[in-house]
Amino acid sequence: MSRREPHVLPKPEDGAKVFWKSLGDMENPAGAQKRAESEESASAAAREAQPADDARLVRLRRAKDQPSAVAQEPREGSIGRRGFMFFAGASAALAAEGCARRPVEKIMPYSKAPEHVLPGVSNHYATVRQFRGEAIGIVVESHEGRPTKIEGNREHPSSRGATDLWSQSAIFELYDPDRSATPMRGTRVPATPGTSTHQPATWNELDAVVADIARTAQADGGAKLRLLVEPTNSPTFIRLRDALKAKLPQAKIHVWSSVNDANVREGARLAFGQAVNVIPDYAQAKVIVALDSDFLGTEPGMVRATQGFSAGRKLPNGATDPMSRLYVVEPTFTNTGMNADHRLRLAAQDVERYLVALAKELADKHAVDLGGLAASLGKVDTTGIPDKWLTAVAKELAGARAKSILVAGIRQPARVHALVHALNAALGNAGHTVSYFPAADPLESDEAASLKALVADMEKSAVGTLVILGGNPVYDAPADLKFAERLRALGGSLHLSSHVNETSEACLWHAPRAHELEAWGDQRALDGTVAIQQPLIAPLFSGRSDIELLARLAGDSAPKGFDLVQQTVRGSLSSAQAMTRTWAEALKKGVLGPGPKAYGPMDARKTEVGAAFTAAAAAAKAGPLGTDNLEVTFAACPKLYDGRYANNPLLLELPDPVNKVTWDNVACISKATAQALGVDNGSVVRLTRSGGQPVEIAVWITPGQADNSIGVVLGWGRQKAGRYGDKHGFDVSPLRTTDAMWIATGVKAAKLNVGELDAIKGRLRKVGMAAGESPAAGRIRPDDPFDVDTHAYKISQTQEHDSMEGRPLAIDATLEEYKKQAFFPYFPARDRKDIDLHGRTIGVRESGSPDPTTPPLWPQVDYSKGHKWGMAIDLTSCTGCNACVIACQIENNVPAVGKEQIWRGREMYWLRVDRYFVGLDPNDPQIAFQPVACVQCEEAPCENVCPVNATEHSPEGLNDMAYNRCIGTRYCANNCPYKVRRFNFLNYHTSGGTYDDVPETEKMHYNPNVTVRMRGVMEKCTYCVQRIQEGKIKSKRTGEPIKDGSIVSACQQACPAGAIVFGDLNDPTSAVAKWRAKDRSYRLLAELGTHPRTSYLGKIRNLNSEMEGA
């Protein structure tokens, strides 16, 4: 065998494009190659080391240090040759005995069968999930009363059949084994020192306490009663809350959520005089300007926005179709920024400057009528803003009146939102591309101010009892409020929560909260559509819902969620018959009825908005950013959100869309800033600012990050999340204060020395990972979160995993190039020189077909009869949101493997989303996403090397995997050019032990139609063969042919961008066949002769030629 030598990157010629997976990869492709190889050798070393068992790791280390000792005395727990023969013989005999008669198994039918439940046939129920102020209609699959999968509801306007990644992972949260099971009674001082302050109590006791609170409040009008709730869009919750307010006029209800829309709401109030829900229709827009807004990621209505955005860029008929253009101005890469056609990296505090300059440009040069507002916008300093970002963008906006959208993110102050509203109105977008709907809760106030008022009352001892419904303010309240201290000093406190978390520990009573899939409720979408939330299962852990507890506080003795919701619905209806009909229809469709109409085009109140800017200009005092005046921007985590999903291993492990970091959060920092601060990847820095508490966090040098700006996400570093979430990552909320909820300036960063690292070890998880670049070297320290040699924090990330060795993969072109050369994935080299990291020219192939002309050495199969399953993925549509990844895991029982296993390159994702940086500037790269699953090669390299025929072809062209035949040689994974085969090095569903270790509730989330794989077995994407079989059997049963679109893979179902289609390639009318026949379609690595069934549509970027060089 000849050894491949990595090529060295030559100096690229003009106009050449370069794809890279990480900064290390870009600077030193040979090193990346080495790292990829060391992953392989890591697994070899791991085979020796049996890394599941930390104790054994220590033993191995000792053994390596003292080789002679090993030779002399047998290691603890080892057995000699005789012992081995004895056990081998005995186990053979036992095995033979076991074969003789399988164990007796019982079948337990229902005693009284529930209606509509057929064993073996899943039921589907429509319900709704609340996320981030938006309600997402969902359909839940239930097997004999056990919900196993969530899908989108086509009838619901905010879902239209798609979901986000949080909806997909909600199934795991339902079965989370660490959810609290009983009410808890707490004391301030434990009865005996060293024991827990909280002891289990009964619901009767808790009900008595709640009744007592209600009675006391009744007596004094609730003067001493305070409620702390989360922002809500439930009509029943709002009804009950208002009823409580009417009954107890003195009681105060405060709102808190660490990720909130206070700025957005205030901006609308400033512009329109009232709070409104803004729904942009991205499908209709030609030009979109996003100002620090992650509308494709964590902002409200992400599913709806993604659907619209990708619909405006689908190019169904080729290059002649219109395509929208997205400009993004932001400090840190987000999903939105990664999908931008043009992106300006700008510190978050400077985004306002940019918007004002843009508004002035529009008003001065393009006659956009801002009225008196234009005069209030003072002179703007445009340092750091390229001229073209003002002139060209303004020209585009002015040229696309009523066809453009400006949108600002939650981090930006209210006046920025107000100016955006004014610009949308002046450009004629209002009523065309931007609609305004009545807000769910017009009374909703500023969360930070609300919590501040509560704390002020607590300080004044004006609070007798505080009832907290959901949320975790002890963990995420702004540091300056010292909320935890005040809460601990209270005489009465009750926390309704799914887990006994940080806040529960500080309260005197804790009540388990029911999951959304366990309780009745109702949710209102951004556009006002109300849907009923119907439970799929009785509360697993005896929880109650918010509305039930709220009703109890209002004096209701035994409220039922069902009755409360029915009362709300009945209130809006005329008759009892209407109620019966409406209710049944609402449960069936998942939508109660159309919501209120949108407001007409709204004009902004220019004088008020102008005044806000004048006032802000007077108060401005922010100096220029520098290494001793850093900016820190906070954002909702694209995985854990605000920390509420912190105990979900699927989300903890999910690679971050930008950095591909798993199991941790990092501080994103630009290369220049890192050099100025003297830090490198994994260095831990302490961030300090006046007013906030210091925060320690590991840094990660991130391309596309604004200089002197540090991007951090909330939700990590939880100390009381549960068995999976405890002590992962770094908690950044201590740095947040009420005056700097999103953007904190004046931050100083200092690298921690070794002594200081030791001091923070207690807060971090111990991970047994090898040190340095080569895990095979055996320098293993299982008890240290830091690297032995470099003292860098160990970060498991997947960005260099599954390297396809620099071959042409995610192929992209600009719209202009596409117009000139429609078949660009085949002929890119004609118009421009594309090279890979190793300097090879990519993409030059035979005209029309990329397949080699030499046939394989064995007879080829004719797939033209029957079904020929195939998939097509549109790289232009894919926004990299990761919903498909989680959907695949839930559907196919794919486990999370843990931080250490990821470090060893052993992630189990059947479907991964590769993220490529494109371009030669490490600071301002473009991004290409590419979801890669098994492409089901017709000439599969994996099949030829399997010694036991465990992977075989089906007549329909699926590359089948028979788990029970697999003996784990891993030859197939080695021979797979796509790197999509995954090996079960350990029993990943267990915590290293047997299946008895898996918590009972966790077992309930498995899809019963897919095998749960054990250790030693290879696995990979099957195109959701269980769904194909279900469709085929149904067709056999009914005699009706399989319709295109009736069999939907889990990833396709979840995708909000509609980037994935699946179907029968032998049916020329199927969507997948049409996509495959498109001009920009190509098959990944088809030049190897694998005949992949998955095809990709090349990524198109809609670049503005006037922006060149900006």
Binding site: A96, C99, A100, R101, R102, V104, E105, K106, I107, M108, P109, Y110, S111, K112, A113, L118, P119, G120, V121, G866, E952, H953, S954, P955, L958, D960, M961, A962, Y963, N964, N1009, V1010, T1011, T1022, V1025, Q1026, I1028, Q1029, I1033, K1036, R1037
Partner: protein, 208 residues
């Protein structure tokens, strides 16, 4: 010098013979006896209720689907809920001691713990409805249930046995209206041509 007695001259031959025959017998015995054909067939455990298929399906002529109601629509044929038993036995044989467990289950709501007779491995995803749709009769796999006092397994249900039929299904097909007919014989369908059913012979047909 003669060290070994002359009688040992035959030892190599003997060893050669025994060394071949004994392992061959052993392998043959394991091959034959330790198979589903030998162990699965004839399995007839005692059930918590001495339910007689001979009485219900045979003498009384009840259709299989009266109790196994799901069989045409679901992967699972379904053991009937206690409710179905009580549909008749709330009026018939109301004081039979043999039915005591059924009444107990009906009153307590706890299931009757039937012992599974026809067992497939967990990684085999068998679907009753697909087989019925193709025209495989109940008796083809389950035998003459109408003649069994206690239910017993009649067929090995091994992968090889499944594949024998999947490779050549026609001899085991019958008109769809005769699926539950226990007495049906191929001669009874003169002139009827079995349809092309094209059963899966690849891994993912049954293993997912």
């Amino acid at each position: 010098m003669q060290i070994f007695p002359r009688s040992l001259n035959k030892l190599p031959l003997l060893l050669g013979g025994v060394g071949t025959i004994v392992p061959a017998l052993l392998i043959g015995a394991i091959w034959y006896y330790l198979t589903p054909k030998n162990f699965q067939v004839g399995y007839s455990p005692t059930q918590p209720v001495p339910y007689s298929h001979r009485l219900h399906a045979g003498q009384m002529g009840m259709d299989c689907r009266y109790c196994h109601a799901n069989v045409e629509v679901s992967a699972k044929a379904m053991i009937p809920p206690t409710q179905v038993c009580m549909g008749c036995h709330s009026m018939v044989k109301t004081d039979s001691a043999r039915l005591a467990p059924v009444r107990a289950s009906w009153e307590s709501g706890k299931p009757i713990e039937w012992v599974q007779v026809h067992k497939l491995p967990d990684h085999a995803y068998f679907d009753h409805s697909a087989h019925l749709a193709a025209g495989v009769g109940c008796a083809t796999c389950h035998g003459r249930v109408d003649e069994m006092e206690t239910l017993r397994a009649e067929t090995p249900l091994s992968m090889g046995w499944c594949l024998d039929c999947h490779r050549d299904p026609k001899p085991n097909l019958r008109p769809k209206d005769q699926i539950t007919n226990m007495n049906w014989k191929p001669e009874m369908a003169q002139g009827w041509t079995p349809p092309e059913v094209n059963p899966p012979k690849h891994c993912s047909g049954c293993h997912r």
